[in-house]
C-alpha cells in the first residue's frame, strides 16, 4: 500500500530540522576544528623560518663588515693625567702641552673595526681572579670608551632600527691561565639571539708554532718507560700494569701542558710587557723622555706602581718585577686550573689513546698527533674570538 504523502507547506515543515542537542554538538565540533586549523592557516612557521635565516644572514653580514670595514680615523688619549702629575710645575708650559698632545694623543687611520677591537683587547691585561675581572692596564679607559662609542654608532646606523646587538671580543692567550681580555659592546645577550663567531688575529705575532709545542711535548714526555713511542710500545706488549701506565701517560700529558703553558706565558710576557714595564724600552718612553728628560721612565715606574697596587689589593704577592710576578702567578694558577678542570678529560683521553693503540686502531704517529693537538689547542696567543649576537627588538 502506498504511503500517503501528506502535503505540508514548506515554511511550516519542521520535519528536516535537527534536534537542538544535535545543533549544539555541531557548533562545538566546528569550534574545535577551527581551533585546530587556525594556527596552521596563519602559517608562521615559514615566516619564522625565513626570519631566522635572514637574521642569521644579517648577523653574518654584519660580522663580515666588522672584519672588513675600515674607520678613516679613530682617536683616543692615554696617560694624560699621569704625565701631568709627573711633569709638575711644567705641566702648564706651552711646550709641554703641545708635546703631550702629540705624544699621548692617539690616532689610528684606515684600521678595520676588528683591528681596533683586537688591539684594545691586546692591551687590557685582565686577570680573572676569584671570579672577578680585574683590568691591570688602567690607561685604556679612553680607548675602550672610544671603541664602544664608534662600534655603537656603526652598528646603530646599520641594524639598530630592527635589532639589538652585542659584540664581544675575547682573548685567552693560554687556556686555563687567568689572563686575557674581553671587550663587550651592547646589551646582554638573550637566549634567542642569532650568533656569528669568527677568529681574529691578535697583533702580537709571537713565534709559538706547532713545531715548538711538539718539541716541548717530546722533551717533557718521559715516563718510567721512556718517551711516547716506548711508553705506548710497553703498554702494547701487555706486560705492565695498565692502570699505572695510563696514570703516568696522564701525568706526562699534564706536564706537557704545563710546560707549554709556562713557555707560552714566558714568551707572551717577554715580548710584550717586559720591554715596556720592566725595561722602559719602547718608543713612547723615549718620546716622553725627549719631552721631559727622564720622565718617560718615571711614568713607567708610576704605571708599574699602580699595577703593583692593583695586584696587591687582590692578594697577589709582588716580590719581583711586575712581569715576573705576573708570570709566577699565571703559571701557578694555570697549573691548578688545568688539573682541576681537565683531569677527567685528560684521563679519558689517555685511556682512549691506549685502547686505540693497543687495538691497532691508531698508529703511534696518530697517538703523538692527538697529544700534540691536545696540547697545542690550549695556546691561542695570536688569535682571539669575536662574536656578534643580534636579536630582534621588541617594542
Amino acid at each position: 500500500m502506498k504511503r500517503q504523502v501528506s502535503r505540508v507547506s514548506f515554511c511550516s515543515d519542521t520535519r528536516g530540522f535537527s534536534t537542538t542537542i544535535d545543533v549544539l554538538i555541531f557548533l562545538v565540533l566546528i569550534s574545535i576544528a577551527s581551533v585546530i586549523l587556525l594556527p596552521t592557516i596563519t602559517g608562521n612557521i615559514q615566516v619564522r623560518s625565513v626570519m631566522d635565516s635572514k637574521s642569521q644572514s644579517e648577523s653574518s653580514r654584519m660580522l663580515a663588515t666588522i672584519l672588513n670595514g675600515r674607520m678613516d680615523e679613530f682617536e683616543y688619549a692615554v696617560a694624560g693625567e699621569e704625565l701631568d702629575a709627573i711633569a709638575g710645575t711644567a705641566n702648564d708650559s706651552s711646550l709641554y702641552l703641545a708635546g703631550k698632545k702629540l705624544i699621548l694623543g692617539r690616532e689610528l687611520k684606515h684600521r678595520t673595526f676588528a683591528d681596533i677591537a683586537a688591539e684594545d683587547a691586546a692591551a687590557q691585561w685582565v686577570i680573572y681572579h676569584n671570579g672577578e675581572r680585574i683590568q691591570l692596564n688602567f690607561l685604556l679607559t679612553n680607548y675602550t670608551n672610544g671603541l664602544e662609542s664608534a662600534m655603537k654608532k656603526y652598528l646603530d646606523s646599520q641594524i639598530a632600527d630592527r635589532y639589538s646587538y652585542n659584540l664581544t671580543v675575547v682573548w685567552r692567550p693560554v687556556v686555563n691561565a687567568p689572563v686575557g681580555s674581553d671587550v663587550r659592546i651592547g646589551e646582554r645577550v638573550p637566549g634567542n639571539a642569532y650568533v656569528e663567531t669568527s677568529h681574529i688575529a691578535m697583533p702580537y705575532d709571537l713565534d709559538f708554532s706547532r713545531a715548538r709545542v711538539e718539541m716541548i711535548v717530546d722533551d717533557n714526555f718521559n715516563t718510567t718507560w721512556g718517551n711516547i713511542s716506548s711508553t705506548f710500545s710497553y703498554l702494547k706488549n701487555g706486560t705492565g700494569n695498565r692502570t699505572q701506565i695510563e696514570d703516568e701517560i696522564t701525568q706526562e700529558i699534564f706536564d706537557s701542558i704545563n710546560s707549554t703553558t709556562d713557555a707560552a706565558v714566558d714568551d707572551l710576557m717577554d715580548n710584550t710587557l717586559v720591554p715596556v714595564i720592566d725595561e722602559a724600552q719602547d718608543t713612547v718612553t723615549g718620546q716622553i723622555n725627549n719631552l721631559l728628560p727622564g720622565n718617560g721612565t718615571e711614568l713607567i715606574n708610576s704605571i708599574n706602581g699602580t699595577i703593583i697596587d692593583i695586584l696587591e689589593d687582590e692578594g697577589i704577592i709582588v716580590n719581583e718585577s711586575v712581569s715576573d710576578t705576573f708570570k709566577s702567578y699565571l703559571k701557578g694558577y694555570a697549573k691548578e686550573e688545568t688539573r682541576r678542570i681537565s683531569d677527567s678529560e685528560i684521563r679519558a683521553m689517555a685511556t682512549e689513546l691506549s685502547d686505540m693503540y693497543v687495538n691497532d686502531v691508531m698508529t703511534i704517529e696518530d697517538v703523538k698527533e692527538s697529544i700534540y693537538t691536545e696540547v697545542f689547542s690550549r695556546i691561542s696567543i695570536n688569535r682571539a674570538e669575536v662574536t656578534l649576537s643580534i636579536w630582534e627588538r621588541r617594542g
Binding site: 612557521i45 623560518s49 706651552s94 709641554y96 687611520k109 715596556v276
Partner: protein
C-alpha cells in the same frame, strides 16, 4: 532501517553531530598536512643557511688574513723604520737585482720580513684546522719565498702649514703608503668528515697602515737639504747675514765689536738653521732642541738662564728673531739697531762721479771737453761763388755764311759794377756779393764759297788689240766739263757780355761731432747758429759780446774775396765755387779765428751748475739697501740703475736746451758751445756712473770668485737668505699638515674623483744631541757633532790699518768698502728620529699604540730572520760652505775682523776643535 526506508524517510533530519565529527577529523588531517608542509619548507630554508657556512668560513678567513698581512706589514715597517739600511751590503740576498737601488732593496727586505711574520700567523692561526667556523676549517700554506709578494707605492702631496718663502720642500710629493699583494693557497675542509672541499690560490691585497715611506722620504729630503748649496746653507746664510750686518755696521760706526763673526755665535746660528729647516720639512721640531736653542740663545746673547716653563709657543711655534739676537750679541742692542738703521740710509750717489769728471782743475775731464768743443763750434768754411750769365752777339755777315777765322776775346773791353747781393741769414748762404757786367769783343772773318765750271780734256784707258792682235789697253783723250770752288770773304766784330754775380758764401759753420758714451751715438750738427757771422750780445752768468765767426768773414773778404775778385770776374770759364777756405779757433794762421775768452768760464759755470743740481737732486732710493740687496755687487748695480734713472728723469732740466736753442738754431755760437757742454756732461755723468759702478760690481764679484770655491751658490744663498730673513722665522712643534693623494705624475686627484682622499699628518722629531756644540764632544766616542771655521778673506794680513776692500779706489772718495766672510760647516746628528704623531699604528701593550718611527744613526743592521748583517745605517751628516758680505761707506777704517782665531794670508781664521780629528 533499510536502505529503502532511508529513501522513504522524509523527515530529512540533518545529522549535525556526525557532520561535526567529520569536520573535526578533516581539520585535524589538514592541520597535520599543513604543519608538515611548513616544517619541510622551514627545513629547506634552514638548509640554505647551512650551505652558506663554508662561504662564511672563507669570507671570515680572507678578511682575517688581510688583517694578518697588515700586521705582518706593520711589523716589517716598524723594523725598517727602527733600523733602516742606508748602505746595503751587496753580498746579501736583498741586494740581488736591485742594481744598488735602495728603494728596491727596502722592498725586498720588507717582503722578507712580511713573509716571516705572516708565516708565524699562518702557523698559529691557519693550520691544523685552527681556523674553524661553523664546522668548516680554512687552512693556508706558508709562503715559500718572499719575492712572490708585490708592493705598490701610494703617493701623496703635503700641504704644509708653515712654508718657506724659498726652496719649498716636497714639490713632487712623497711615497706615503705601501699596498701589498700576497698570493696564498688555501684549503677548505669539512671537519665532520675531514673532507677537503676546495683548494684554491687566492691573492689578498691590503694597505699597510703605517706611513714608513713618508717618514723615510721626508728624512731623506732633510738629509739632502742640509748638505751643499741647499736649504740649510741658505738658512745659515740668513742667520749669519743678520749677525754680519748688526755687528759690522756697529763696528764701522763705533769701532766695536772687534770680531764680526765668531764661532760661539755661529754655532747658535747653525743650530737655529738646522731647526728652522726641520720645521719647514717636518712642520715640527725636536722640543728639547727648541728648549736648548732658547737656553743657549739666552745665555750666549744676554747672559741669562732659561727654564723649560718659560718657553712660549705661539700657535704651536716658537718665534725666533735672528736680527734681534744679532743686536743683542753686540752687548748694546739699542746702538746696534740704530747703526743698522743708519746703514740702511747709506746714500750711494753721483758725487764721486761728478767729482771725478769735474774736480775744478784745468785738467779735469769737463775742462778738457770744453776745450775740445769750442774749436768745433768756432769754425767755418767760406768760399767765393761765381755765377756767370753769358751773352754772345756775332757781327752781321749776311751772304757770308762760312766762319773762317775767329780771334780770342782777350781782356775785357769794360767791367762795370751794376749791383750787390744782400746778406743771407742761413748757411749755406751768401754773406756778401757783387754783380758785374764784363764785356769783350773780337774779329770774326766770314767767307762765301761758289763753284766755277769749264771745258777740259782728260785721258782715259780703254781696251784694245795690241800689235800682236792680243787684247790690250790703250790710253785715249776725251773732252769733258770740269769745276772749281772759289770764295768771297768779309770781317765782322763779335761781342760777349758776362753778367757775373760774385758772392762770399758761407758753406758751413760750427760742424760738431761729440760722442756721447751713454747714448752710444754722437751729437752731430752744423749750420745751426743764428747769424753766426755777426757779433752778438749774449747773457749767461754775465753779459758778454760774442764775436761769433765775424772774424772769419772779415779775413776771408779781405784776403781772398776782394783779392781774387778781378781774376774771378775775368775768368770766362769760371762759374761755381772757388777759393774755399776753412777758419777755426784751433787752425794755424792765417786761418785762425779767436773765441771769446769768457766762454770757457761760462761753460765751466754750466758744468758746475749741473753738478750742484745733480748732487742736490739725485739720492739713492732708500729701498736700495743691504737688506734688500744683501750682495754688494747687486747693491751697486741697483744703485747704478737708480741714479741713472733719476738723472735721466731730470735731464731736460739739467741740459736746459731751450735757453740756447729754439728748436732749429742756436742763438749764438757761444750758446751752442754751452749747450753742447751741458748735454755732454749730463750724458757723461750717466755713462761714468754706468761704467764705474759696473766696474765696481765686477770687482766685488771678482773678489768673491777669488775667495769662494762656488761663488754663485754663495751669492744666491745670500739673495734667498734675505727673503727668508724678511719673512719672519718660526720653530714649529707638531703643526698638522694635510696629505692629498696624487697620481704617479704627482697631480692631486680632484675632489670628485674616486681616488681622491686626504688625511692629516703631524710629525714629531727627536734628535741627538739636542744642541750641536762645536766645543763639547758628545757621547762615548767623544764626537764633535759640529765643526765650524770662519774666515775674513777681505782682510788679508792687515797690510794696512784699513779693513776690507775699497771699491773703485781711483775715485776719491771711493764708492764703498766691501767685506766678506767665509763660513765652513761640517757636522752630524748622532741620532735623528722622526715619528708619526698622527697615526700611531703599532700596538703597544701598555699605551695602546705607538708611532711609526724612522731613525738615522750609526748602526750595523742585522737581518732578524737570518742574523746576518745586511748593511749599515748612517747618521745624517752635513757640510757646506757659505759666506756673508757687507758694504760700508768709504772713509773710516772699513770693516773686518780685528781679532779672533789666527791670522793668515786669508785674514783672521777661527776654527773649532773638531777639525783636527778628521
Amino acid at each position: 532501517m533499510t536502505l529503502r526506508s532511508l529513501f522513504n524517510d522524509d523527515t530529512a533530519k540533518v545529522p549535525f553531530a556526525v557532520i561535526g565529527v567529520l569536520l573535526l577529523l578533516i581539520s585535524v588531517m589538514a592541520s597535520i598536512s599543513l604543519v608538515r608542509m611548513d616544517v619541510n619548507m622551514a627545513k629547506a630554508m634552514s638548509v640554505r643557511g647551512e650551505i652558506s657556512a663554508p662561504d662564511n668560513a672563507l669570507l671570515y678567513a680572507k678578511a682575517d688574513m688581510a688583517r694578518a698581512i697588515d700586521y705582518a706589514g706593520m711589523s716589517a715597517l716598524k723594523q725598517l723604520g727602527e733600523t733602516p739600511v742606508i748602505i746595503p751590503d751587496n753580498g746579501n740576498a736583498y741586494f740581488n737585482g736591485t742594481e744598488g737601488n735602495i728603494v728596491k732593496f727596502d722592498h725586498n727586505r720588507a717582503k722578507a720580513l712580511i713573509r716571516h711574520s705572516l708565516n708565524k700567523y699562518i702557523e698559529s692561526n691557519y693550520r691544523f684546522d685552527t681556523f674553524a667556523i661553523q664546522g668548516y676549517s680554512v687552512n693556508a700554506e706558508p709562503l715559500d719565498s718572499w719575492d712572490v709578494i708585490e708592493i705598490q707605492t701610494i703617493r701623496m702631496k703635503l700641504n704644509r702649514t708653515l712654508i718657506p718663502p724659498v726652496m719649498q720642500p716636497g714639490e713632487n710629493g712623497y711615497d706615503t703608503y705601501w699596498k701589498v699583494r700576497v698570493p696564498l693557497r688555501i684549503h677548505l675542509t669539512e671537519l665532520s668528515s675531514g673532507t677537503e672541499l676546495t683548494a684554491s690560490n687566492i691573492t689578498i691585497e691590503t694597505l699597510i697602515t703605517a706611513r714608513y715611506p713618508l717618514l723615510k722620504d721626508l728624512t731623506d729630503e732633510y738629509g739632502v737639504r742640509v748638505n751643499g748649496s741647499n736649504a740649510v746653507m741658505v738658512e745659515t746664510t740668513a742667520f749669519s747675514m743678520a749677525y754680519t750686518w748688526a755687528r759690522g755696521y756697529m763696528q764701522y760706526y763705533r769701532n766695536t765689536p772687534a770680531n764680526i763673526i765668531n764661532n760661539t755665535h755661529l754655532s747658535l746660528m747653525l743650530n737655529g738653521a738646522l731647526l728652522l729647516d726641520q720645521g719647514f720639512v717636518f712642520n715640527s721640531v725636536d722640543p728639547m732642541s727648541i728648549f736648548e736653542y732658547s737656553k743657549q740663545s739666552a745665555f750666549v746673547l744676554a747672559g741669562k738662564s732659561m727654564d723649560y716653563g718659560n718657553i712660549t709657543l705661539d700657535n704651536g711655534s716658537l718665534k725666533i728673531d735672528p736680527q734681534q739676537d744679532a743686536f743683542n750679541s753686540t752687548g748694546n742692542s739699542t746702538q746696534a739697531q740704530q747703526d743698522s738703521e743708519k746703514a740702511k740710509q747709506f746714500d750711494i750717489n753721483a758725487t764721486p762721479i761728478t767729482d771725478y769728471l769735474n774736480n775744478g782743475s784745468s785738467k779735469s775731464f769737463a775742462s778738457q771737453k770744453i776745450w775740445s768743443i769750442i774749436p768745433q763750434v768756432y769754425s767755418t768754411a767760406l768760399v767765393t761763388g761765381v755765377d756767370r750769365q753769358t751773352t754772345e752777339t756775332e757781327g752781321l755777315h749776311d751772304g757770308y755764311e762760312s766762319s773762317h777765322r775767329v780771334e780770342g776775346w782777350g781782356e775785357p773791353d769794360s767791367m762795370s759794377l751794376i749791383g750787390t747781393v744782400a746778406r743771407e741769414d742761413y748757411v749755406p748762404g751768401a754773406l756778401y756779393g757783387e754783380i758785374w757786367d764784363v764785356t769783350w769783343t773780337r774779329s770774326h772773318v766770314w767767307r762765301h764759297y761758289y763753284i766755277v765750271y769749264y771745258t777740259c780734256t782728260k785721258t782715259k784707258t780703254v781696251p784694245c788689240s795690241g800689235s800682236d792682235g792680243k787684247p790690250s789697253t790703250c790710253t785715249i783723250e776725251y773732252t769733258t766739263t770740269c769745276s772749281r770752288t772759289e770764295y768771297n770773304e768779309m770781317t765782322t766784330t763779335d761781342t760777349r757780355v758776362d753778367r757775373v754775380t760774385i758772392t762770399l758764401k758761407a758753406q758751413e759753420n760750427s760742424f760738431t761731432s761729440i760722442p756721447l758714451g751713454f747714448r752710444g751715438s754722437a751729437l752731430s750738427s752744423k749750420n745751426d747758429v743764428v747769424k753766426p757771422y755777426e757779433e752778438r750780445d749774449v747773457t749767461y752768468s754775465a753779459a758778454h759780446t760774442d764775436p761769433q765767426l765775424e772774424e772769419a768773414y772779415v779775413l776771408y773778404k779781405s784776403d781772398v774775396f776782394d783779392a781774387n775778385k778781378d781774376k774771378n770776374l775775368k775768368s770766362q770759364g769760371l762759374s761755381g765755387d772757388t777759393d774755399a777756405e776753412t777758419y777755426s779757433s784751433d787752425s794755424p794762421a792765417p786761418n785762425f779765428i779767436a773765441y771769446p775768452g769768457w766762454l770757457t768760464g761760462e761753460a765751466q759755470f754750466a758744468v758746475d751748475e749741473i753738478t750742484e743740481d745733480i748732487n742736490r737732486d739725485v739720492h739713492l732710493d732708500p729701498a736700495i739697501n743691504y737688506v734688500n740687496y744683501p750682495v754688494p755687487s747687486d747693491l751697486l748695480v741697483a744703485a747704478r740703475d737708480d741714479l741713472i734713472m733719476k738723472i735721466a728723469r731730470n735731464e731736460s732740466r739739467y741740459v736746459d736746451e731751450d735757453a740756447y736753442f729754439d728748436g732749429a738754431l742756436y742763438s749764438s755760437t757761444s750758446a751752442k758751445v754751452i749747450s753742447l757742454v751741458r748735454k755732454w756732461y749730463v750724458d757723461e755723468v750717466k755713462y761714468q756712473i754706468y761704467d764705474k759702478f759696473t766696474d765696481g760690481s765686477d770687482l766685488i764679484n771678482s773678489s768673491m770668485g777669488k775667495n769662494f770655491s762656488d761663488p754663485d751658490s754663495v751669492v744666491q744663498a745670500n739673495r734667498d737668505g734675505a727673503k727668508l730673513l724678511a719673512k719672519g722665522m718660526y720653530l714649529p712643534f707638531g703643526l698638522t699638515m694635510r696629505a692629498y693623494h696624487t697620481d704617479d705624475e704627482g697631480n692631486v686627484y680632484p675632489d670628485e674623483a674616486l681616488e681622491a682622499w686626504n688625511e692629516s699628518v703631524t710629525l714629531g722629531v727627536f734628535q741627538e744631541p739636542d744642541y750641536l756644540s762645536p766645543d763639547i764632544p758628545y757621547g762615548a766616542e767623544k764626537l764633535y757633532t759640529l765643526k765650524l771655521r770662519n774666515s775674513n778673506p777681505t782682510n788679508p794680513l792687515l797690510v794696512s790699518s784699513f779693513y776690507g776692500v775699497p771699491v773703485l779706489p781711483t775715485l776719491d772718495p771711493w764708492i764703498m768698502t766691501f767685506g766678506a766672510w767665509e763660513i765652513n760647516v761640517e757636522g752630524e746628528f748622532v741620532k735623528f728620529e722622526v715619528f708619526d704623531g698622527d697615526d700611531e699604528t703599532h700596538p703597544n701593550p701598555i699605551f695602546g699604540h705607538e708611532a711609526q718611527v724612522y731613525v738615522r744613526e750609526k748602526d750595523k743592521v742585522e737581518d732578524p730572520i737570518t742574523g746576518f748583517p745586511i748593511g749599515d745605517n748612517l747618521p745624517i751628516k752635513f757640510s757646506f760652505i757659505t759666506g756673508n758680505f757687507i758694504a760700508v761707506p768709504p772713509s773710516k777704517l772699513g770693516v773686518g775682523d780685528r781679532e779672533g782665531g789666527y791670522i793668515t794670508t786669508l785674514g783672521y781664521v777661527e776654527e773649532s776643535k773638531g777639525w783636527e780629528k778628521t
